[in-house]
Amino acid sequence: MNPRAVVSDTRRRLIGGAVAAGALVAAGGWRGALAAEPLVVGIDAEFGDPTSTSAIAIRRGVKEAAREINDKGGLLGGRPLVVMALDNRSLPARGLANLRQFAATPNLLAYLCGKFSPVTLEQIPLVHDEKIILLNPWSAADSIADNGRTPNFAFRVGLRDSWAMGALLDSARDRGLQRVGLILPTSAWGRSCKTAVDNHLAANHGPAITMTEWHHWGDATGLAARYAAILASGAEAVILVANEPEGAALVKTIAALPQADRLPVLSHWGVAGGPFAKLCGTALHDIDFSLVQTFSFARQTHAEAVAMIPRACELFGVGDPTHIDSVGGFAHAYDLVQLLARAVERAGTTDRNQIREALLQPIEYRGLTHHYAPAFAAGRQEALSPDQLFMARFHPDGRLLPLET
């Protein structure tokens, strides 16, 4: 009586699409006729989330990379790269539906997921069933890349919860905060972070966790209670794992409290998924709020990054690149697509299996985020490493700058 046994017509579409795609792939000799057939890169992200800017940033990154590639003459003998962006509204159900649509799309090379790990995690089985390459620019759950599948189709340029939690805990430790409270969302992400915290503290020195509070995703109202509980537990800081609405709510809550009750907040990068500064308003300046990041135009200052600054400012309509919301998503997405292009050229085919293989070959690429040499390898589907994480803080003028300054 498994309800999933109910056959939906999406499944049928899936099969149909798979057959069509398979046929096209099998007829590889048609390459000549398909010379101008575009290659598709998909994005499945939370465009519908009203407070989210991550999806937009990711899309801009992908499109910028695609534009550059197409300007250089496309892939596989002049085939242009096109972008297919679908909205999953941060719901796993929608994410799966969109993935099925990708599977039915011919000439789809790979897709990028959004910032919501639960959604991406839901997609992992189907990704492997359909052998679609997942390029993850944001979702931080560890088990997205460590999915235990062989062959593993999930590739990430970004941080993992384990790294992020480690960085937060280390930051707290480094700041001399002995006791911290955890606020985690009741979701896979939250659970993944909890696991990461436990693992990190088991392996490393770190502050003690006084309280672990779980807040319901989407429910901004319960945070005050959560914070109050943590405060009452004698924590010196709060490690926050939340997205921007909840984060903003917490910030406002804390800012409304007396100064004595305002604990410093060390946050996962989820809050960067939206216009956090705007959402918080002035409250943000009234509290000590820092978050973990992987990219900033103020920190990655190598040639390729600098060269991107004007373009990025133009795309995002800002004067200062550090004003760009969800800039990490932009940079990761751009790098992922460039890596993909190189892999596709190296594979010389639209067959995703071969592209996957090609991705695992040593690809050297000087990207925005990092000089990848190589990006991925067998058994290592994470392009970055923990030492690329850094803490950042929102300045009153809205810029997000690395902490060390």
Binding site: P3, R4, S8, P50, R89, A93, A188, H216, G218, D219
Partner: protein, 934 residues
């Protein structure tokens, strides 16, 4: 109002008739019933409406309560669901795939457990795919569930839907809002069993009520309580949750069995009707009794009155009188009147009885007299239409008992014979005018027999002298009339017989014969007188033996006498001697006439027929038959000779007397027996009407003669075959002659030469015979050429010289042979070597015929011509050849030398001719030297 009353009156009259009693009773009834009816109807209606109201009120109360309860529960349920759908747990569950089982499932479980009406609770995603599901039922998963969820998500509103069929299961889907996107990203789907929701509320319904829930389509969803019958009182209550747009329209129907509802009413009504009927009957009986009391005396009066009228006699007793009211006084007066009438009646009766008695006596005396009279005495009206009296004697004529007395005379008149109608008329007129009439006429009785009656009629006058009626007597005079008529008829027939006898051609004699041998002639007709040449006076009263007969016929006369003496039948032929001594062959046949009384003959009657012609004829015939050379025979139908003429003896030698009686087959040659039999059997069988054939007969001395037999059957008058008669002709010589002729004919036919015989005696000399060779040669058939002249064969080529030769020979009546060009029928020419010979008559010597013998010599002629041609060619060769030729004939003499030889030898053909073989050869060298030297 008055009209109505009148109508009622009329109607009642029709029903009750003319009885006052009943009328009064009916009116009383009516007066009692009508108001009662009106009142009761009104009351009934009121009570009925009250009852209905009561029932409705009951239903309304119960139903309203139920409705309230159901709605309350439904509303509650709906509220709970709504809250749940809005809860963060549920919202969270939308995206927390792993974690939702931790918190959402228990939550749903507890919800389901708390509300037993909930069969299933599930959270679906935006497509209606269930994310998690809790159920405590074994209902099958209906795709409708998930479709409803999808619809709820799409519409963003709660959907309530009743499942199809008569299951009280509702699918409820509440869309779950996902706050971050403010969109509906899933649905909470719940299956509610209305039975459990609503059932509890319905449990508390009072018994006797049935509650049913129907959806808008009229499908029954839920029922509480059983309802046996279709007849029910029910009330409908809508179930609506107004704030919920998607709530399906449901209807609560509360019913109770109509019987239950209206039972009191029914009881009341039946009671009512019963009471009503009872009161009506009571009223009726009272009114009837009253009217009976009232009208009893009147009725008695009525009976008495009707009795009076019955047969003129007053009977019955007095009418009882009760009291002193009007009716009593009427009754008393009536009684007195009746008494007076009674006494008067008795007096009259006694008088009438006496008179009647006297009348009867007189009548019976009269009847006795009349019955003894056999004549019909009658009395009729003047116009004969009415019978005033008729005596019983009419029975003899016709059975008129069944006819009404008045009509008896007229009926009798119908028996009058149609022919007499006119005379009857005349008779009646005479009676009318002269006062008396008499007529005799025929009646035809019913059985068809005729009756003669004599009628005498008198006109009778009444006191005033006017004719009043007609009296008459009818007497049966049949016997007398019949006797008279019979006598007349007898006399007439006797006279006719007499005339017949007298005019007969044959002589008739009647002799009276008595026992003592008196045979006296009493009658001789004119024919006999002329036959015998005597006159009547000579014969009458004389003994018949005075008639003279030729002496040669004494034997016959003796025979005749014997017959007469014996008073028997007989016939004899003899020659009668006439008065002038001539004889006349007559045949006398006598027969006895029976006398009346004793049975022996009283008379002998003799018919004398003149048979002289017959006799002479026989004699002549005899002569001819005997003289004829052919045998004339008669055989009976067994083939025995019964007659043969002398020619038989002349031809065969057998004596006639010996042959007669023998079978004719004995005389036919054995070899011809079968053939003879065959011919005769055909005749017997009727296949032929005569035979004509030739057979051999055996003569007395063993020779065979060929006879031509001709025979015809002889039948008697009935058409039965009694034998054959015919002739036998000796044709032996002519047969031989014929044989010879046939032989010659065959010879002619066999000849390969064409033979033509021409008849000179006929004009045109036609061909009368050609043989087959002629046909073959000329191509003409015998039929085509017979009757035509031989010239036909010449065709158009008649101008031959040979024809002239032929003609000359014919003229000179000499034979000749010519060769002519003749033409076959096909037009082909052939050379005809014709030899014509005249044939002369043996007696006269004149040429009667020509015989022509043809010979087709065409081939020979052609051969000759060819030979000639060849010779000519040879001649040419010899003549023209440079080599010398000498030919010798059969005698070795020179026949011919050609010019070349002549030149060579110097001899001419004339010199050479006739020389022998040696001579010219011997002489050749010298000659040749000569010529060579030239």
């Amino acid at each position: 109002m008055i009209q109505v009353l009148r109508l009622i009156e009329v109607a009642v009259d029709r029903v009750v008739g003319h009885s006052l009693t009943r009328r009064v009773g009916a009116f009383g009834l009516l007066m009692g019933v009508v108001p009662a009816l009106v009142v009761s109807i009104f009351t009934g209606l009121i009570i009925f409406s009250l009852m209905v109201d009561r029932v409705n009120a009951n239903l309304s109360e119960a139903g309203g309560l139920a409705q309230q309860q159901v709605l309350f529960r439904l509303s509650n349920g709906e509220q709970t669901l709504s809250d749940i759908a809005d809860s963060t747990i549920v919202r969270n569950g939308l995206l927390d795939t792993e974690g939702r089982s931790g918190y959402l499932d228990p939550f749903l479980h507890s919800y389901v457990a708390r509300y037993p009406a909930v069969e299933l609770a599930a959270l679906t995603d935006f497509q209606g795919e269930p994310l998690t599901l809790v159920a405590n039922t074994s209902l099958p998963w209906d795709p409708a569930l998930w479709a409803t969820a999808r619809t709820a998500v799409d519409r963003g509103e709660a959907i309530w839907k009743m499942l199809e069929g008569d299951t009280p299961i509702a699918v409820v889907a509440y869309p779950v809002l996902y706050p971050p996107t403010s969109s509906f990203e899933g649905a909470l789907v719940v299956l509610i069993d209305l039975r459990k929701t609503v059932g509890a509320a319905l449990e508390r319904m009072p018994t006797g009520l049935t509650v049913e829930v129907f959806d808008l389509r009229g499908e029954l969803k839920l029922r509480h309580g059983a309802l046996e019958s279709q007849l029910r009182a029910s009330m409908r209550f809508p179930l609506v949750l107004p704030h919920l747009d998607g709530f399906p329209g449901l209807e609560l129907v509360v019913s109770m069995s109509a019987w239950e509802a209206y039972k009191p009413l029914a009881i009341f009504f039946s009671l009512f009707i019963a009471l009503g009927l009872i009161s009506i009957m009571v009223a009726r009986s009272i009114s009837q009794r009253l009217s009976a009391q009232l009208l009893g005396p009147l009725r008695k009066l009525d009976d008495a009155v009707s009795n009076v009228g019955l047969d003129g006699r007053v009977r019955g007793g007095d009418v009882p009188v009760f009291g002193h009211d009007e009716i009593a006084r009427l009754a008393t007066g009536f009684n007195r009147m009746m008494a007076a009438i009674r006494s008067a009646q008795e007096e009259l009766e006694s008088k009438v009885v006496e008179r009647t008695r006297r009348l009867h006596t007189a009548q019976s005396r009269l009847n006795g007299v009349l019955e003894s009279i056999r004549d019909i005495i009658y009395s009729v009206s003047l116009d004969h239409s009415r019978t005033l009296y008729m005596s019983p004697a009419h029975r003899e004529i016709a059975e008129l008992r069944d006819v009404p007395a008045e009509r008896r005379y007229t009926v009798l008149c119908t028996l009058v014979h149609p022919d007499e109608a006119g005379r009857i008329e005349a008779f009646r007129r005479e009676v009318q005018t002269s006062g008396f009439g008499e007529i005799r006429y025929r009646l035809r009785k019913l059985d068809g027999s005729a009756l003669w009656v004599q009628e005498r009629a008198y006109l009778v006058f009444d006191e005033t002298g006017k004719p009043s009626h007609i009296d008459g007597i009818l007497t049966d005079v049949t016997a007398g009339v019949s006797a008279e008529l019979a006598r007349e008829a007898a006399e007439r027939s006797l006279r006719i017989r007499d005339r017949a006898l007298a005019s007969c051609d044959e002589g008739v004699l009647i002799a009276e014969v008595t026992d003592d041998r008196v045979e006296r002639l009493v009658y001789a007709n004119d024919a006999f007188l002329s036959l015998s040449g005597r006159c009547r006076e000579e014969l009458i009263d004389k003994d018949w033996r005075t008639i003279e007969v030729d002496e040669r016929d004494a034997q016959s006369l003796r025979e005749l006498r014997r017959i007469i003496r014996n008073r028997s039948h007989g016939r004899q032929r003899m020659r009668l001697k006439r008065k002038d001594a001539t004889s006349l062959w007559v045949e006398i046949s006598v027969a006895p006439v029976q006398g009346t009384g004793n049975g022996s003959a009283s008379h002998m009657i003799g018919i004398i027929t003149n048979v002289s012609e017959l006799v002479h004829g026989e004699q002549r015939y005899r002569k001819v038959v005997d003289a004829v050379r052919e045998v004339i025979y008669q055989v009976d139908n067994e083939g025995r000779w019964t007659f043969l003429n002398p020619a038989w003896t002349a031809i065969t030698g057998h004596k006639v007397e010996e042959t007669l009686g023998a079978s004719f087959f004995d005389f036919v040659h054995p070899d011809d027996h079968p053939f003879n039999v065959e011919c005769f059997s055909e005749l017997i069988a009727g296949k032929r009407d005569h035979v004509r054939h030739e057979v051999r007969y055996l003569t007395r001395n063993g020779e065979t003669r060929w006879m031509q037999v001709f025979g015809q059957p002889v039948t008697d008058d009935d058409g039965d075959l009694i034998g054959f008669s015919g002739t036998l002709a000796d044709i032996t010589e002519s047969r031989d002659a014929a044989e010879i002729l046939r032989l010659r004919d065959r010879a002619l036919q066999a000849s390969s030469n064409g033979i033509v015989i021409v008849d000179r005696s006929q004009r045109g000399n036609p061909v009368i015979f050609v043989n087959s060779a002629f046909e073959r040669i000329t191509g003409y058939t015998a039929a085509e050429i017979t009757g035509r002249n031989c010239k036909l064969l010449q065709g158009r080529d008649t101008n031959q010289s040979e024809v002239e030769v032929l003609r000359e020979a014919l003229r000179q009546e000499k034979p000749c042979t010519v060769t002519l060009r003749n033409y076959r029928k096909s037009g082909e020419m052939f050379w005809n070597e014709l030899t014509v010979s005249p044939v002369r008559d043996a007696d006269t010597g004149a040429v009667t015929h020509y015989v022509g013998v043809q010979n087709d010599v065409t081939a020979r002629r052609e051969a000759d011509l060819r030979l000639l041609d060849l010779f000519m060619r040879l001649d040419m060769v010899f003549t023209l050849s440079p080599d010398g030729f000498v030919s010798f004939d059969g005698d070795d003499r020179v026949a011919f030398v050609n010019p070349a030889f002549e030149r060579m030898s110097g001899f001419s053909s004339g010199e050479m001719a006739g020389l022998t073989r040696d001579a010219p050869i011997a002489g050749l060298p010298s000659r040749t030297d000569r010529t060579a030297n030239r």
